[in-house]
Amino acid sequence: MIIQQLSVFLENKSGRLTEVTEALASAQINISAFSIADTSDFGVLRMIVNKPDEAMKMLSAKGVSVNITEVIGFIVPHEPGGLHRTLKILSSEGISVEYMYAFALGDRASVILRTDAIPQAIAVLQKHKMELLTASDIYEV
């Protein structure tokens, strides 16, 4: 249920992102989900890729600050209130969200979520019969 997310520290410098995507492309690593958090002088790139360990080793060797963070993925219906219902469940169980990103396709939306309480979040979502994503589900999107 736990998905390995690749996180990369990037300076806000033009061309820096391209260098990372180029390295991933040439190592035949596929990116399934992707988000960038930015501040005035740096950014953190977060990705779900098909070969996280390999990607981490490869980027590390290039001197990039990279690590693997555990996240969870789940499905919400692509309709008004779909996301809201899930978040309400998590919040009522005392689970706080560090960050999340999502994409919708057809009648479903996939959400990637980071929290300090991964096992609890999984248990809560299962209890409420939410559809959780596994790593392979995401790679095959």
Partner: protein
């Protein structure tokens, strides 16, 4: 105007005789009162009675900032601490400051040399002296303060900061002489322009500016913007503070108050004494101070000396505006900063490695220190909040060590150039030459 014509215009031969007498007495005091110097003399086989003449100064041992550090805090004092009536300190390279002390007589000497400084800038009892140097452990504020009272000026001890209030006070109280760092003078000038205060509405006629290096170009800018005469003054806390040397109205070099502080220029590598007119490291020997009379103290400032009689009538030797440093010390907003201090801060934190770069720039006439720190793989967190917290923590630790604020920028690993041998740790963008 000359405050102490007897000394400041003394025949050079007679001055040498006075210096010789004072040096000889001082060596004797150091031998018996400061174990550090006694050991140094014994190593060189010098008996106090051997030193009778300033020509023999070159045989005496040097003192460095490291010696002050090794003997922290009072180890080099030549009097018991009970005789000390004042302590000042400057930031040190390892977190511990360099502590200097003054006896009551030392404070009198200090007031005397600052009185000479202010008088040579045209100051007198009718002047209103606006002192915007920092008051506190820094010698700038209180140093100028007592000299200003000695000449009978009306003293406004405003200290640093709060520029709007500074302008208000200068206007309302009719300040005639401004004492601050040259970069702050320019900053004030800009603040005046923004506030629509014209220089003509002020009574300022002169400024005494020091505590950091500045250029002739800056002088012209200050003089035209504030419509004043900008006088360069020099001092360092280890010798006494402000009042070691000062320009006169001729602005052709800074007269060193040699009856108290004997200057020498040495080659920073060989430590050989260089003749007048050659550039080298400035070294001072205090011959009258009681508490901390340092022998041949290496200032690390590069300059040259000129013993020609000045048009103002003073015979005192003149030093040229400082041309640079023989070590890696930076002066940022008047505060001494060594790159190694930043290194210590980063080494002490478990989240950082000492890969850093200091970028010093002058923005709107104020020095800005930017510190680039590499984010190591081990410590990289993917949560922005944690990275921001790390940044704030580094910023806070640097500020509490240096006493001045810095902008911390987190950069990727290996961004900062690694070179064989000496790493490039500093980029100083302030154009000072």
């Amino acid at each position: 105007m000359i405050w102490n014509e007897y000394v400041e215009c003394m025949d050079r031969e007679r001055l040498a005789k006075l210096q010789s007498e004072r040096l000889s007495a001082m060596v004797e005091r150091l031998y018996y009162n400061v174990p550090f110097y006694r050991k140094e003399f014994q190593k060189k086989g010098i008996e106090p009675s051997d030193i009778k003449n300033i020509d023999q100064l070159k045989h005496l041992p040097f003192t460095t900032k490291q010696d002050l550090r090794d003997n922290y805090p009072f180890g080099l004092f030549a009097v018991p601490v009970s005789e000390i009536v004042r302590v000042h300190a400057s930031s040190g390279t390892t977190g511990k400051p360099t502590v200097v002390g003054y006896t009551r007589k030392d404070l009198e000497i200090w007031s005397e040399v600052v009185a000479r400084t202010l008088t040579s800038a045209g100051g007198g009892k009718n002047d209103v002296l606006h002192i915007a140097y920092g008051y506190g452990l820094f010698t700038g504020g209180l140093g100028i303060h007592y000299g200003a009272e000695k000449i009978g000026a009306t003293v406004i001890p405003v200290s640093g900061g709060n520029t709007q209030r500074q302008l208000q006070l200068m206007q309302d109280l009719g300040s005639t002489i401004l004492a601050c760092t040259p970069s702050y003078a320019l900053y004030l000038a800009e603040a005046m322009a923004e506030a629509g205060v014209s220089a003509d509405s002020l009574k300022l006629k002169a400024g005494v500016f020091g505590a950091e290096p500045w250029t002739e170009e800056m002088r012209r800018e200050i003089e035209s913007k504030l419509k004043i005469k900008a006088i360069d003054i020099y001092g360092l806390s280890e010798v006494i503070g402000p009042g070691v040397a000062s320009e006169c109205m001729c602005q052709k070099g800074l007269h060193v108050f040699e009856d108290h502080f004997i200057p020498e220029i040495v080659d920073p590598q060989t430590l050989e004494v260089l003749p007048y007119g050659q550039i080298g490291e400035l070294v001072f020997t205090c011959v009258t101070k009681e508490a901390l009379p340092l022998l041949r103290y290496r200032t690390r400032d590069l300059t040259m000396l000129n013993a020609e009689r000045c048009e103002c009538g003073r015979t005192l030797v003149r030093m040229k505006k400082c041309l640079g440093r023989s070590d890696d010390m930076l002066i940022i907003r008047g505060v001494n900063v060594f790159p190694s201090q930043i290194e210590t801060v980063l080494l002490e934190m478990s989240e950082t490695k000492p890969h850093y770069l200091l970028i010093v720039d002058r923005v709107n006439n104020l020095d800005v220190l930017e510190v680039w720190v590499e984010v190591d793989k081990q410590f990289f967190s993917d949560e922005i909040k944690k990275l921001e917290d790390l940044k704030k923590k580094i910023q806070h630790n640097i500020e509490s060590t240096l006493g001045i604020g810095a902008i911390v920028k987190l950069v990727e690993p290996k961004t900062i150039e690694r070179s064989e041998g000496k790493a490039k740790r500093v980029i100083d963008k302030r154009k000072l030459k």
